[in-house]
């Protein structure tokens, strides 16, 4: 990772942070409905891992905290915000919402709202990649609490059994909604749980993007070289509640302060300032430019976009005019 990469990643992570914070405001203004799960605090996980992979080519799938992963894969932030605004110009044409961002053109294969749902889907994409003989890999980002679903165990077993090219990234933010990991999970260190499936794994500091990148590079190279699945656990923290409807009353101020002192963006910023690569003013200018972009481009696009047409309510339920529905002949 050279200096130019670090500067770009600083901007990308700050963009992700400001994007999510703006979502918060729009939700409070009731411009965004439904459930909204925000990513601040965890930015180094998504950006560090995907920086080590090939975003846009590798197939990425995740849960409902999905805006930032989609954007890092190449989704247009305008379309992601328009989706949150439930507009026809949204990435899922206003039919999906915050938890169901998709951009298949950039191989971002979706956000899914059933905890643990993407585990087998990722293994299946890896199976397809293997059959087709490509050198892409499947990458599945999920939280620690998903590992208590049956799909986790069923998928790891099959992924190893068939040596599928899939990287499972566990963003361990220590809480499953409001239940702390030690109250829900017998084995707290998640990377140890996959040893029962003979899958190699590692645990890394998820707040330091350089460390994440290094660990992810090893993981991605391993999977891409045809060695089978890999499991990477990243220790991280989400600053806000699980979703906007979560009062976040279950965590102590002390704990929150401890984690905010290890903020992934601030750590990288201070490192670059200390190395003389950027100045405080550069950072401020970058922040202002990002805020302007989000307001003038992203929000403006979402605000001014049309709603889906009610007469297209039933569009996208089934394939349109599929000849095989009619016996192929018509």
């Amino acid at each position: 990772m050279n200096v130019a990469d670090k500067k770009r990643l600083l901007r990308e992570m700050l963009y992700a942070r400001r994007f999510e914070e703006r979502c918060y405001e729009a939700y409070v203004e009731r411009k965004i409905g439904g459930f909204l799960h925000l990513y601040p605090g965890q930015e180094a996980c998504c950006h560090g891992v995907l920086e080590a992979a090939r975003p846009g080519q590798d197939y990425v799938i995740t849960g409902y905290r999905d805006h930032v992963h989609a954007i890092k894969c190449g989704a247009d932030p305008k379309e992601v915000m328009a989706e949150l605004y439930a507009k026809e110009t949204g990435s899922s044409k206003g039919r999906g919402g915050s938890m169901h961002i998709f951009d298949t053109g950039h191989h971002f294969m979706g956000g899914y709202a059933l905890v643990g749902g993407p585990f087998p889907l990722a293994a299946g994409m890896a199976k397809a990649i293997k059959m087709k003989g490509g050198d892409e890999i499947a990458i599945c980002f999920l939280g620690d609490a998903a590992n208590n679903q049956g799909t986790f165990h069923e998928s790891l077993n099959m992924a190893k059994l068939w040596e599928l090219p899939v990287l499972y990234v566990c963003e361990n933010n220590l809480y499953g909604i409001g239940t702390r990991i030690d109250r829900s999970t017998a084995v707290i260190e998640q990377y140890k749980r996959v040893s029962g499936y003979n899958i190699p794994s590692a645990q890394e500091d998820g707040q330091d993007i350089e460390k994440v990148f290094k660990a992810a590079k090893k993981a991605v190279d391993y999977v891409r070289s045809g060695n089978g699945p890999y499991f990477l656990e990243l220790m991280t923290y989400r600053y806000r509640g699980h979703s906007m409807s979560d009062s976040n009353a279950y965590r102590s101020k002390k704990e929150e302060r401890m984690w905010s002192e290890r903020d992934p963006i601030i750590m990288l910023r201070d490192r670059l300032i200390k190395a003389g690569e950027i100045s405080k003013d550069d950072y401020k200018a970058m922040d202002t430019e990002i805020l302007d972009n989000i307001e003038n481009e992203v929000i403006a696009f979402a605000e001014s976009s049309p709603e889906p047409r009610v007469d297209e309510l039933e569009k996208y339920v089934l394939a349109e005019n599929d000849p095989w529905v009619y016996g192929g002949g018509r």
Binding site: G105, G117, L121, M131
Partner: protein, 326 residues
């Protein structure tokens, strides 16, 4: 036109589609080396290899989800779930992922997979191996549900389902795999929507699907021979979407309807067909429609109790006679 068994028809459809398209695969418990509980994939492991004829662990939700993920990238999986009772475990992936992904992605993604599963009551298999679950699958938007009543349909529905871009659930029956019937020698594609008139008639329409079509045909023979009633039998091989116009057309002709289902009556095929009749052609009716359904009990083990729990041709005859006052 050859007479072949239901399982042979399924096997032929698998073989032809796998031969045509290297991205067609099949997956399930014991379908490979062992050749399949119902022989629907017999010999295919040797022909196409372990990468395409996949013996899965007993992880129904997991391997169904894996098939869905593979289908996102153009693979066409045919998944056999050994029994519909086990398909309950796969409902999360089938309903939450496969059926909804096209809609919630705004049309970007689709899950073109086929799930085949054997349901129905067989030989004293007890409460957890005798479920009839088609009514559950029918209620899910984004999922097609078909149910073959004979080898021709079994062959033609699987052929069409593999090629269709929607997820398709094929509801088969434990007792029907050895049933013989004519299947065209040339390739044949059964539409995934519609219904078939299995017997022309004029006095009453008997609506059946899968095994109950045969009870209806048996009942129609008895009604004709012993009671001078000419019953029409409509085979609802497509359960979702149901053939509204086909259902209404037959009722407009006979003015009477009896719906015969092997499943419990609540929230079922009979209820849905009755609702369609009400909505489409209520004023054509000369009598209130009737349902012939299973008793609302977990299936008992005792053979006598089991027989009493599910309908038969005699029950259909009795229902029609009651309706017509004969």
């Amino acid at each position: 036109m050859a007479q072949i068994m239901y399982w042979e028809a399924l096997r032929r459809a698998h073989d032809e589609e796998m031969d045509r398209d290297p991205l067609v695969i099949c997956m399930g418990e014991d379908i490979g080396v062992a050749g399949g509980t119902y022989k629907a994939t017999k010999g295919l492991y040797d022909k196409y290899g372990a990468e395409r004829v996949i013996d899965t662990p007993i992880s129904e939700n997991g391997y169904t989800g894996l098939g869905i993920g593979a289908s996102f990238l153009g693979v066409r999986p045919i998944i056999e779930i050994m029994s519909v009772n086990f398909a309950w475990l796969a409902m999360d992936q089938l309903f939450n992922s496969a059926a909804k992904v096209r809609y919630m992605s705004g049309g970007q993604l689709t899950a073109p997979l086929v799930v085949r599963s054997a349901g129905g009551t067989a030989h004293q298999l007890g409460a957890q191996h005798s479920a009839r679950m088609e009514k559950v699958f029918m209620g899910i938007a984004g999922l097609r549900v078909v149910t073959p009543s004979n080898p021709r349909q079994a062959y033609g529905l699987l052929k069409s389902a593999v090629r269709c871009d929607d997820p398709v659930y094929i509801n088969e029956h434990e007792l029907m795999y050895n049933m013989k019937g004519e299947v065209p020698d040339e390739e044949y594609f059964q539409p995934l929507e519609g219904s078939e008139i299995a017997r022309e008639g004029s006095d009453v329409t008997l609506f059946g699907y899968n095994i109950s079509v045969h009870w209806c045909l048996q009942a129609a023979q008895t009604l004709a021979k012993e009671h001078a009633i000419n019953a029409e039998v409509v085979d609802l091989f497509a359960l979702s979407p149901l053939d509204r116009s086909g259902i209404a057309a037959s009722v407009r002709k006979t003015h009477r309807a009896v719906i015969v289902e092997e499943a419990e009556p609540a929230v079922g095929v009979g209820a849905e067909v009755m609702a369609i009749i009400n909505e489409e052609c209520f004023f054509e009716l000369d009598a209130a429609p009737l349902r012939v359904s299973a008793a609302n009990v977990p299936m008992p083990y005792n053979h006598g109790l089991e027989k009493a729990a599910i309908p038969n041709a005699g029950d259909v005859v009795a229902a029609v006679r009651k309706m017509l006052g004969k």
